[in-house]
């Protein structure tokens, strides 16, 4: 949230339609995303109720738990879900490509992408993973062999979702909010139906009118994972009773289908809207990370890797936090350099500026600190009308070469002088094109697309005693495998 996006919201109200806050698409969109709309029973921690799932907009698969309090039916539901998801995931694991690196390695050519309606969908996916990954196929409460495997994959995907810029498990409302500002609050944007109403109102209606219509739970049932309380009380309760007496799930299925199908249509509408945007420059590199992780997880599971424990050890938790932080920094920076509209947020905050080059001292050479010989350190003067809030010495990255290191030398009035430090070739003077020229329009920002410095952390086995010592690796227990799920 910034003054820019808030201004865009005000503009959306005036124009009766959502306004863009991005010019390119900042997430990867698979050619065959798996849309997954899970529903849960109100009041329960993680009792699945139904799901509409599939990669074909014309052919969703409906899964239901006709009596959500019945443990066996829940596991039957998970096994059925595995029938849909595992072939999709494992199919993608089969095709690899060789990555040219110092040591070339194999990487999956594609990776699974799950699209859920909202953050609640992500949280519930995580709980479904948690409640199934420890299960066993033998012993007192045996489950279908696919269930714990699915549990591991759902856990993997929901973990990826915590990394900024990952496209493995995506909440549709978040994806849309990244690209459009509606005329409602960000809180209300968590409602997929009203958010889409503002972005693409149907013929004959403007955004606010369409959003009002979309608030009617009869035409737009909640996108889950909770169902509407009125639906629960007026329809679902009776349908479940009917199943109890007749043994037929037909009524429950029809009831839940009515709640899921409108969201299914909206999800694919969202996919279409996002597809219309050209992909941002760094999306491919971030998706490659998702594919890397997918490749590693595939190998780990193939070797019989244990499910992830309930809680992280101190070191892995710290490593994870540092990774998350670095992914977030890199993502913020990459997004800004990919998209002038996103860069605005940083320009308004004074951390970035854009302007025209008015002078270049390309032949300047100085002896850099700590060196003995003079090296090229050209100065570039930029005139900007942006409210720069940076001071000499700050290191900046340029939008035209994100690897080039530069720093501010002087700011006077609307003139900013920067010094270029590297990426100029080996010659005594900068290589042609390596330094901006007078008349160029440039943008510099105090953002680091490489994700910044990572703290050095000890390896897991060197965990200091202050942090509990080396963690015991997780070993599956009977207790975990037989945990109640009531």
């Amino acid at each position: 949230m910034s003054i820019m996006s808030s201004y865009a919201r005000a503009l959306a109200v005036q124009n009766g339609r959502a306004q863009p806050v991005a010019t390119v698409r900042h997430l990867h969109l698979s050619a065959t995303p798996m849309v997954f709309i899970p529903l849960k029973l109100a009041g329960e921690a993680a009792a699945p109720l139904a799901a509409l799932v599939g990669t074909d907009p014309a052919n969703p698969r409906l899964l239901v738990v006709p009596q959500p309090r019945n443990r066996d039916l829940r596991f039957a539901f998970m096994a059925e879900l595995a029938e849909v998801l595992l072939p999709y995931i494992e199919g993608l694991a089969g095709v690899t490509e060789t990555v040219e690196a110092k040591t070339p390695y194999e990487r999956c050519a594609d990776a699974p992408q799950l699209l859920v309606p909202n953050r609640g969908g992500i949280a519930f996916t995580k709980l479904l993973g948690r409640s199934t990954r420890f299960r066993r196929t033998d012993g007192p409460y045996p489950v279908h062999p696919s269930v714990p495997v699915l549990g591991q994959w759902l856990t993997f995907l929901s973990e990826r979702a915590e990394y900024a810029g990952s496209s493995a498990l995506v909440s549709m409302t978040d994806a849309l909010a990244l690209h459009w500002a509606t005329g409602q609050s960000s809180m209300e944007d968590a409602n997929l139906a009203t958010q889409l109403a503002w972005i693409a109102p149907p013929e004959g209606l403007d955004g606010p009118e369409a959003a009002l219509v979309a608030e009617d739970p009869l035409t737009s049932p909640p996108a889950g994972p909770e169902t509407h309380p009125d639906f629960d009380g007026q329809v679902l309760e009776y349908a479940i009773q009917a199943f109890e007496t007749s043994g037929s799930a037909a009524q429950v299925r029809e009831a839940l289908r009515s709640q899921l199908e409108p969201t299914w249509t909206l999800m694919w509408q969202g996919v279409r809207l996002l597809r219309e945007l050209p992909e941002a420059a760094t999306v491919e590199a971030r998706w490659a990370r998702d594919r890397d992780q997918f490749t590693r997880e595939t190998a780990r599971l193939a070797e019989g890797g244990f499910p992830r424990g309930r809680v992280d050890g101190a070191v892995s938790a710290a490593i994870r936090l540092a990774d998350l932080e670095s992914a977030l920094q890199a993502y913020e920076a990459q997004r800004a350099f990919d998209d002038p509209l996103v860069m605005i947020e940083h320009r308004v905050a004074g951390k970035a500026f854009s302007g025209e080059v008015v002078a270049v001292d390309a032949t300047r050479r100085i002896v850099p600190a700590g060196k003995t010989r003079a090296a090229p350190r050209p100065l570039v003067t930029i005139r900007t009308s942006d409210p720069v809030r940076l001071s000499p010495g700050r290191r900046l990255v340029s939008s035209r070469n994100r690897k080039q290191r530069t720093e501010i030398v002087d700011i006077t009035g609307d003139l900013v002088v920067i010094q270029v430090n590297d990426q100029m070739g080996r010659g005594a003077t900068p290589a042609p094109g390596s330094v901006p020229e007078v008349g160029d329009v440039v943008c510099y920002a105090e953002l680091d697309p490489s994700g910044g410095q990572r703290p050095r952390l000890p390896a897991g086995e060197d965990t200091p005693w202050t942090h509990g010592g080396p963690p015991e690796p997780y070993v599956p227990t009977d207790e975990d495998a037989q945990e109640a799920w009531s």
Partner: protein
């Protein structure tokens, strides 16, 4: 009949509960809610009458689950609860008595129950009995905006050795020692209301309010099972916020003084249009958070939309836009069609700049 009774009409006044008080404190600047609540007006029915039924409700499944968990915790003379209290409070409670104050000898009158609650709590506090005592459904009172209200008794007060704890039973799960942050925060805010009310009662009785612990015992199901687990929840922060906000709540008298004479929200005699006009005479302060906490929210949102208020964009957005009240004013300052007042000079300059570079980037 008081002025507040006139406002409500012949309908019975509605009870408060911790949720409504906590919600009231979330939006302390709203005169409308303060007045409707003080008068005990049924906001749910009023909103429906106005054609804006509240956008939330409770699923029967959630209600059933909450009840069955509550019953489980209290079953067999609160066996589970006592076990949890022993371990979380680290006490050796050998025996405990249990009194339910939901009715007094078949009488469920508020006044009677409140008097009984006071008497029982006072005795427990003064006798300093070493044994544990559980008081279920204590009916407490609270002064809200200069007006006394009863608090729906959804908790247990636990006394041991003269110290008191509020015990709150909630049916959301704690999974791998983590619970939904939003639900925990809501529980903490609600528990703080009871701690506050209980301390007020102690103060009124001349007892030391410090004997009521700021550590609330929160009982929830553990993982995916129905098995209860307990955690101590320090609600000092919520308590401080609540007290600050309650003290800031505008006095009802002041709101009443500003009301036009003869106004009423009586749903029996007034048409929706008339009630709407009457409600509109009391100032509101809409924020999107209202949609989750106040029954009047769709009415107030429609009103804010009609006024083209920046309130509909959310508090954060409104703050970023320099607190300017209306959307046309924001856009007018941005495109220079509206001259800024002296205090708007800075935000106007920012808005002009944002508009210029936004327009460039979108083009």
């Amino acid at each position: 009949m008081t002025r507040l009774d006139t406002l409500r009409g012949p309908a019975e006044p509605l009870d408060h509960n911790a949720r409504t008080i906590a919600a009231l404190a979330v939006n302390p600047g709203c005169d409308r809610r303060a007045l409707l609540d003080a008068a005990g007006v049924d906001k749910q029915r009023t909103a429906t009458h106005l054609g804006f039924p509240a956008p939330f409700g409770q699923s029967p499944f959630a209600i059933t689950r909450a009840k069955s968990f509550d019953a489980l915790v209290k079953a067999n003379g609160c066996a589970h609860l006592l076990r949890l209290l022993r371990s979380t409070l680290d006490l050796s409670i050998s025996e405990a008595s249990y009194s339910d104050i939901s009715d007094v000898g078949g009488n469920d009158d508020h006044q009677v129950r409140h008097t009984r609650t006071r008497a029982l709590l006072k005795r427990a506090a003064t006798d300093g009995d070493g044994a544990g005592t559980l008081f279920d459904h204590p009916l407490l009172k609270l002064t809200v905006a200069g007006h006394e209200v009863y608090l729906e008794p959804a908790v247990i007060a636990f006394q041991i050795e003269g110290r008191f704890h509020i015990v709150e039973i909630k049916s959301f799960a704690v999974i791998d020692d983590q619970a939904d942050a939003g639900q925990v925060a809501a529980a903490a805010r609600q528990s703080a209301v009871y701690v506050h009310a209980l301390r007020a009662l102690f103060t009124a009785e001349g007892l030391d309010p410090g004997r009521i612990s700021h550590n609330v015992v929160l009982v929830c199901p553990k993982d995916f099972a129905n098995h209860p687990t307990a955690t101590l929840l320090d609600v000092r922060q919520q308590l401080a916020a609540l007290e600050r906000q309650l003290s800031r709540l505008t006095r009802i008298d002041r709101i009443l003084d500003e009301l036009p004479i003869g106004i009423t929200f009586d749903l029996e005699t007034q048409s929706p249009d008339e009630v709407g006009k009457a409600v509109a005479t009391v100032g509101a302060r809409f924020a999107p958070e209202c949609l989750a906490s106040c029954e009047m929210s769709l009415f107030c949102r429609a009103e804010a939309r009609d006024r083209e208020s920046t309130d509909v964009l959310g508090r954060a957005a409104r703050d970023e836009l320099g607190g300017i009240e209306s959307i046309p004013a924001v856009l007018g300052l941005a495109d220079d069609s509206r001259p800024p007042s002296p205090e708007q000079l800075e935000i106007a300059e920012q808005l002009r700049y944002v508009r210029r570079i936004y327009t460039e980037a979108v083009a």
